[in-house]
Structures are given as C-alpha cells and as structure tokens.
C-alpha cells in the first residue's frame, strides 16, 4: 500500500475530489461502522476546516501535504473543546481545556481531526475491552478483539475510516493493535514526540505513536509531530527523516533476534514458523542474523507492570472528583473521594491503582519497586550491548493471535503476558515499528535509541523481501 496522504493530496490539488466530500464520507463511514471505534465525532469542526481547505484550493493557493487529510485521535489526547473521556466513566463528560502539542502540530499543518477513538480506559488494557463504549472489534475478524489499548485507532486505519490515527504506546499499545489489524504502528524513541496533552498512564514509557497503512505515511506524520517542547521536558530535538535516506538499507549488515522469545512454549507454532521463514529471507539477502540472549518474557512483563502500576497509581491520584470528572458526594470529603473513585474507575484500572500503591508502600518498595527499577536498568544495559553487535533487532509482535472478545477480561494474567514481546522495548525507550508482515500479527523492528531512521530503512527493506 503506497502513501494515502500523497494520493489524497494529489486528488485534492487536481480537484478530483473536494475536501468537504472527503471529510463527509469518512464521517459517514465512522458513524455507521460496526466495530465500536468511535467515542465522539468531531463533525462540526471537521466540516468547517474542510470548507476552508476547499476555498484555498479554489482560489488557486497552494496547500501543504497534510492539509485536508482527515485523521483520528485516541481518546486520551486533549483537543480543546472536545470530549476527552479516556473511555472512562470518570471523564465521560470532560472537555479538554487545551490541545496536546502533537495534535496541535498536525492541526497547524492543516490535517483535520475527525474522531476521538475508542481505547482501553486510561490505556489500561491490551484488547480495547476495558471501555465504557463497548469492545472494539477487530478489523479483519469482528469476533476477535481489536487489540489495545489503541484498538479503535488501529481498526479505523485498517478499515480506511481515517487516513492515519494518533495512538499512544506505553507498553505496546500502538504496536500490538497495529499487528492485530495488519497496519503499521510506530513507538518512536521516548522523548522524540511531546507527551504534553496526552493523559499520563506511566510517564516514563508513555509515547505518542502514529498508525497508518504505509511506512511513508508514518514517516510524514512522525516528521510533523516530533521535536523539543518546553511543555514536556523529556523531549529532544531530532532531525527530519527524509524519504531518500530510508530508500536503502545497505548499511544494515547484522540483524538480531531474541532466542528466548522463540524458545518459549507459549508462542503460537505458526507465528514461530513464519518468523523463522522471515529470518531465512533476510539471510538470503546476505545479512548476518544473530540469536541474542535476553530476559525471560515473564520477567519483562513483571518489571513493566510493576513500574507502570506504580506510575499510574500516582498519575491517577489527581482524579478525585474535586475539580473535574464525575463527582459522587459522600458524608465527608474522604468519603467523597473514595466513593467517586470506586464507582467511576473500571475493575482493571482499580486493579492497577491498588497494585501501584502496594509496590510503593513501605515494606514492599525495596523488594518490588526498587528491584523493578534495577531490572529496568539491566534491560537498558543489555540493549546497549546488543546494539554494539547488531544494527536491528526483529521480533514477533505478540506470542499469539488476537483472542476472542471476552476472553481477556476473564483472564487478566493472560492479557498481561500477551504483552511479553512489546514491553521490553518500552522499558528500553527504543524506537520500534510494527510492520504488518512476517507473522500473522506482524513483526517488530527495533533500533538503538534515537535511531528511528534505521527502523524505517529496515522496514522498507522487509517490505521488498517478504
């Protein structure tokens, strides 16, 4: 699939289509879709913006590449004046007072936000079933989950309801649904894109991540939204990635994979087989492939969830119904807090908040939280050493194919373990792209920190050889 952004841009410029008809059609499709991807439609503002783009074209003015391109936003991003529910009961009626930096940059470039998309509440989930808007249904087989937490965003892209969508990835929330719905999804290096205006889940791994149907569209969107932002002091300046620079992968000589990801019994035999078939194709092109040692998947999952729960317990402590959100009054202030929180948070969110407070409490923090931080450091060190030996690491996105709707809610441990292949790269803050090839749920392509460009190069190479 070639770039939809370039294709639509050409159609707009040549007046083959109007921006208004484009936006109206996407809104209609979103409104009637049966995959539960929509939390709210941004109909009025989208139509106004589309008319402005048409007026500009009619008057002979040039338009930018992203001007008039309709896109979706996971419902955890602030967009001034729109409902930003985080798919939660708590914030069902909450309206963003301001706009997230990444979203503002897209709007400034002329792209048109048309929908706030369904997801797991506060990003807590891997199936987009933990939501008050109904489980997101997989784009390919609606009996299966859409993946999560950015499930609505991935399904919208896969079904051509949005040209691209902006998801959020803390432990795999862009990469896994991208794999489940056979589209591209990028978790850039931590800090490349500002998190300002993204509702915080686990701040040390939260990343803004574009989802699209082509590498080129991911590149265009990434270039637009990257950059240093004084409102997020973990951001850094980055160079734009050019189309020419990623057209060749000749500098990639060595590729690694983690052998213990493949030697586990939990991996689907077909995913394993397909993965090794891809490895063979890479070797045929003269690239050296190395099997690497890495941490056990259950250690990765436990480290990630220990730290993510601690961070989300802290981040969500602000939600008490005092200044915003759905308040339920009790006899005392403390009662109001606890009734409000117990009635409004979902079971999964409560499980994570309680888990987070457990690990942060005296007597537990040393043997769990501090140890988690220590393991995280070792993971980062291990990646540093790996990238002295290899240029790229590839891995499956998930050990298994998407579960049926309802299965993950019954077995949260299985849901946590399904993140085994994605969370390590989050803890390492590395750039990782899901490509919809190689296995039934795709492949992850990872490079060293700040080397997002190399990920694109290898993804282009894979596109040609698989």
């Amino acid at each position: 699939m070639e770039s939809q952004i370039h294709q639509i841009h050409q159609q707009l410029v040549s007046e083959e289509i109007t921006c208004l008809s484009l936006v109206q059609e996407r809104l209609r499709l979103l409104n009637t879709n049966k995959h539960a991807t929509v939390n709210s439609l941004l109909e009025k503002s989208a139509i106004e913006l589309a008319k402005k783009v048409d007026a500009k074209i009619t008057s002979g003015q040039k338009i930018g590449l992203l001007e008039g391109i309709p896109f979706g936003i996971k419902d955890v991003y602030m967009l001034q004046g729109t409902y930003t529910s985080a798919s939660s009961n708590f914030l069902k009626k909450y309206k963003s007072p301001y706009t997230a930096t990444a979203i503002q940059k897209l709007i400034d470039a002329g792209a048109i936000p048309i929908v706030k998309e369904n997801c797991d509440s506060f990003g807590h989930g891997s199936s987009s079933e933990n939501t008050i808007f109904g489980a997101v249904k997989n784009a390919i087989n609606p009996a299966l989950v859409g993946g999560g937490s950015s499930g609505g965003s991935a399904v919208n892209v896969a079904k051509d309801l949005t040209v691209f969508s902006i998801g959020g990835d803390t432990g795999g929330s862009v990469r896994q649904p991208a794999g489940y719905n056979k589209v591209y999804g990028l978790k850039p290096t931590y800090g490349r894109i500002s998190r300002f205006g993204l509702m915080a889940y686990a701040s040390s791994t939260d990343c803004v991540g574009p989802i699209a149907k082509s590498i080129e569209d991911i590149r265009i969107v990434l270039n637009e939204i990257s950059g240093k932002d004084t409102k997020d002091q973990t951001t850094y300046s980055s160079e734009k990635i050019s189309k020419e620079a990623i057209s060749t992968a000749s500098e990639i000589k060595t590729v690694g994979y983690f052998k213990n990801f493949l030697e586990t019994e939990v991996i689907d035999p077909k995913i394993k087989l397909d993965f090794f078939a891809t490895i063979d194709k890479i070797k045929e092109k003269g690239i050296v492939v190395k099997a690497l040692d890495f941490f056990e998947p259950d250690t990765l999952v436990s480290t990630y969830y220990t730290l993510a729960m601690a961070e989300t317990a802290s981040n969500l402590s602000r939600l008490d119904g005092t200044n915003y959100g759905h308040r339920i009054e009790g006899d005392t202030l403390k009662d109001s807090y606890s009734i409000t929180r117990s009635e409004n948070f979902s079971e999964e969110t409560k499980r994570r908040i309680v888990g987070g407070n457990q690990v942060l409490s005296q007597g537990f923090s040393d043997e769990i939280y501090l140890k988690g931080l220590s393991v995280r450091d070792q993971i980062a060190k291990s990646f540093e050493n790996d990238f002295k030996e290899v240029d790229i690491i590839i891995s499956p996105v998930t050990p298994n194919t998407p579960p049926k709707i309802g299965a993950s809610l019954k077995d949260p441990l299985a849901m946590y373990l399904s993140d085994a292949y994605t969370v390590g790269f989050s803890l390492g803050q590395l750039p990782t792209l899901t490509v919809p090839q190689g296995t039934q749920t795709g492949l992850q392509v990872t490079a060293a920190k700040n080397n997002d460009e190399l990920v694109f190069k290898f993804a282009n190479f894979l596109k040609d050889i698989i």
């Binding site: 004046g81 759905h326 009790g330 888990g355 769990i368 988690g372 441990l413």
Partner: protein, 88 residues
Amino acid sequence: MSKIMTVDILSSIKGAQPSETVNTLFEVIKNANTSSNSFNDQHHNAVFLDELRDDVVLDSSPIEKQLIIENFPKEKNGFLVVSKVIEE
C-alpha cells in the same frame, strides 16, 4: 508516628483488595536475578538546569478558563462548589 494504611485507604477506593493476578507478577520480580539492587548508574533522564523552562505564570485563554469552569462538577448561584472540608 507510623500508621499502617491498607490499600483501600492508600488508593482512596472503597473495599479495594490486592489482586491475586497482580501478586503473581510481583512474585516474579521478587525472585528475579539482578546483578545489583542499585538503580543509580543508568539514569540519564534528568534535565539540565539550563534547559529548565522559564518559571513564568502563563495566563489561560478565555476559552480555556470557560472550559475549566464547565468541567467543574458542581455550581451553585455562580459559585463553584467543592466537597465538604476535612474535619480531622
């Protein structure tokens, strides 16, 4: 003056109990092999003092102020009403 607080109090969630599933995850990390328990040799996420943003108060735009007021859960006679104050 140490006081033992249960997770329901710590979390401000009525009746909250630790989850068996989550405890299973914690057991794995407790038993994980680590070369050391220190975590101070890899942390490069700190921001340099020179890079801190200016400490200035930015006034919210009128629309932002309006939305903040709209989001407030309760209003009476033009005043924003908070819950009862802490009695203890």
